[in-house]
């Protein structure tokens, strides 16, 4: 078989060296009850590349690819154009097939890239230090909450109602096992985020306040105000960002006083991929919190000849050293996605990221204005970056399904995100990026007009 280099001749020779009569002798320790006498039944036998590719292509074709639709989905995963060179780089065997850089002498490629990545993320977030990535935005969000618990030694977590409900759910799930108390809420539907209500929930036992920026409805909360309120009570502000492109147009969370900034990095370099693998970003505004951070960190040092080099460092926080006392059970990071992010970010640079953000915002403004002109449609947001909420008098979930039949992926309905809240059923999140054309916007508007009339 094509991935197995041993020939039968090799196998015999090796068994001779081992002193075993057959390969079965090597499995003698397996209890009789568990010894299978042949290939597992009910599974197919091996297949050539052509047949496998055909099967998988068949499955692939059962999906409506974004490129073949008028596409307005967001809610934590955004479609951006990724330069072809990004994919070329991440397929270099030396990056693709390397392990975690535990042998730094022969892993400087990964390590220097991670140092550059950490630096890029820290700057983007307005923070001092970023780690070498987490699984995704939602798990990074939980890790931030757990870190706030460690730092403040408090257990009460205030979640903004406008935090992505899946993120909130991850936090709630984990908190069940750590005895953190979650003070959550539904998002208040309104043109502005409800900072006042949020601030009112912060008390002296609060470890952290978790605020999404831009929030799940696309609005831009003033983090500065929340940071002041949290700090006044001794709590940390955790800012969550699910669209890093936005930070090319809006102030960074660190700048606004967030203590821990986490988010999803998928927009830059990674792609949609039906939800994974994605890229968790994690940064702290103040260096003093570094030793409480979860995940891997890459640091600069020198080698025995005095040459600059990079290593994984501060690993005394990690599970393979600390075992049950580790800051997190996290082990793997999202190395290859971090590389994709870093390469794409390097291609963008300051200038490109700002242009990209401006173009996203320009098109989103056009879309908002055109949708507002559709009879029956109201644009909820006062402020937004590239995603906003529209409301209408119909079940948005059904509208989305109906429009999909005409290859219009109209957005993410609030009903899908909040299936239990009837009041949200007429809400639709519409995301617009540089990949959206004005023609796509027209298509959506016409279809909605027809649907709602």
């Amino acid at each position: 078989m094509r991935y197995l280099p041993l020939t039968d001749t090799d196998r015999s020779a090796m068994l001779d060296t081992i002193g075993a009569a057959s390969v079965d002798d090597l499995f003698v320790d397996v209890p009789e009850v568990a010894r299978l006498d042949g290939p597992i039944r009910d599974l197919p036998m091996h297949a050539g590349e052509m047949a496998v590719e055909k099967h998988m292509r068949g499955l692939s074709k059962q999906n409506l690819a974004a490129a073949d639709a008028a596409f307005f989905l967001g809610a934590g995963a955004y479609r951006h154009h990724v330069p072809a060179s990004v994919d070329h780089i991440i397929q270099r065997g030396e990056f693709l097939t390397a392990y975690t850089p535990y042998q730094p002498e022969i892993a400087q490629g990964t390590l220097q890239m991670l140092f550059e990545f950490q630096s890029q993320v820290a700057r983007l977030y307005g923070c001092a230090v970023a780690n070498a990535s987490m699984y995704d935005g939602s798990t990074a969000c939980w890790e931030a909450v757990a870190m706030a618990h460690r730092v403040t030694k408090r257990k009460r977590v205030v979640l903004s109602g406008a935090l992505h409900p899946h993120y909130a759910e991850v936090v709630r799930t984990m908190a069940k096992f750590t005895d953190d108390e979650i003070a959550g809420a539904q998002p208040a539907i309104g043109a502005q985020p409800d900072n006042e209500g949020l601030i009112a929930r912060i008390d002296d036992n609060t470890s952290c306040v978790v605020v999404q920026y831009p929030d799940i409805l696309g609005r831009l909360p003033d983090l500065e105000e929340i940071a002041e309120a949290a700090h006044a009570k001794g709590a940390l502000l955790i800012a969550v960002n699910t669209e890093p492109v936005a930070l090319g147009a809006i102030k960074s969370p660190g700048e606004l006083g967030a203590d821990i900034v986490v988010g999803e990095g998928q927009s830059i370099g990674v792609g949609l991929q039906f939800g994974g693998p994605y890229l968790g970003l994690f940064a702290v505004r103040d260096k003093k919190h570094v030793r409480q951070m979860p995940g891997r960190l890459c640091g600069e040092t020198v080698d025995a000849d005095g040459k600059r080099g990079f290593v994984l460092t501060l690993s005394t926080r990690e599970q393979h050293i600390r075992r049950e006392k580790a800051t997190s059970n996290i082990c793997t990071n999202s190395g290859l996605c971090a590389l994709a992010f870093s390469v794409h970010m390097t291609l963008l640079g300051e200038k490109g990221l700002r242009q990209l953000a401006a173009e996203n915002h320009r098109l989103a403004c056009i879309a908002a204005d055109k949708l507002a002109a559709v009879p029956g449609v109201t644009v909820l947001n006062d402020s937004f970056f590239n995603e906003f909420t529209i409301m209408f008098d119909a079940d948005a979930r059904q509208v989305v399904r109906d429009l999909a039949e005409d290859k219009i992926l109209a957005g993410v309905s609030l009903g899908r995100l909040y299936p239990d809240v009837d009041a949200f059923s007429g809400g639709l999140l519409v995301a617009v990026t540089e990949t959206t054309t004005e023609e796509d916007i027209e298509t959506l508007c016409s279809a909605l007009k027809e649907k709602l009339s």
Partner: protein, 488 residues
Amino acid sequence: LEEPLIFEIADNQTTGVDLPQVDPSAASRLGGMARDADIGLPGLAEPEAVRHYTRLSRQNYGIDLGFFPLGSCTMKHNPRLNEKVARMPGFADVHPLAPTDTVQGALGVINELAEWLIKLTGMHGVAMSPKAGAHGELCGILCIRAALEARGDAREVVLVPESAHGTNPATAAFAGYKVENIPANEAGRVDLDALKARLGPDVAAVMITNPNTCGLFEPDMRAISDAVHEAGGFVYCDGANFNAIVGRVRPGDLGVDAMHINLHKTFSTPHGGGGPGSGPVVLSEALSPYGPLPFTARTDDGYIHLVEEEGAADYGHTQAFGRMTAFHGQMGMFTRALTYMLSHGADGLKQVAEDAVLNANYILRSMEDVLYAPYADSGPCMHEALFGDKDFADGLSTMDLAKGLIDEGYHPMTMYFPLVVHGAMLVEPTETESKATIDQFITAFRSVVERAKAGDQTLATAPHYAPRSRLDETMAARKPLLSFIDPD
């Protein structure tokens, strides 16, 4: 040649993309949050960017360059077909919240992979969403806790063998359990009697690695499971070493209740310099109802439903302990793993296990005359061979031997793990290496071992032929420099 940092060669006016220059006077809806400060991000034109990363890549060692016998990491060949398939637009260019009518093929991949995992492990269900092995471990333990809570049985202790991966105790502790070690016997296995003696109404679960981290199969596995079950606990099996038995032994037949599977180990998805991984957890019938959301369900009409918060009741999954991640798991890894499984088939996967074990035993028996092999008399090893530094000359350690191997053109084996053996060396060849490659490695390995035993002090400063000599890790940790700082 040294490769500078992007911050040293790039500037904030260069970009490698061509984007429209938006009229700055255009209307803004940023609600007062518009950025004024520079971010400080360096940009490179495409030619310079491609060159920077290409050069960086060449300072890395990967499976594509040579033998990578990193024990317990299963550094096997990463087929390029997998990469091609993962990039098909129907998988790569699909949004996780797209209407399910438009993603039946993507859900189909998840469902088909789930079926393979269930059949290969002989289990009842599988939670697909965990993002990596440790995440899967956590998922498994949380299922156990949820199941115990559901029956109103508050248990406080998780037993973990002393040779376990560090993630095992970290996971159990996270889930709120008190961790207690179980000792190993002299043959490198779990001490069944000690375990039985400790079992009782306070033990929620035993976390066991099988094949274990000494590279040995636990012959008492079935007995262990029976004992744990009898005591009302659950058996968690760390699936990191599943490659040794895939297609030949089904953990379900051994009484396991939960096991995560590292798709990047057993099922050839790329390690990518440290991730992403993917850690689905197979579950016994007792635990299946507690697996987290979302999950997929195929109905009789062939339609595949994605069950999230809504509708779980319709598919009998009301006891889910919660949600572990925003979306449905590592789709990109699912497509790769399924591609790999279809390529090998049931017959090929069985051969995988056999060749992996054959290669490891071949190394064990080819080295034991020169290198201390603590469990050489315990019978055949599984997919990895364990050695110790007992006979090294003073002043030379396993670390020195590892660095010496770098100069021979190899990635070192795993070092100082498991903790039960002094100066442990865990060598895992995997099934994708040829006899010729392994023979060359054995020759080189023997020669470095002889040097370590003879006290060759050049090993103490190895590597000499790598992009860097030994790095000062102490300095890195004492004065952490974790982000580039602009020179003034």
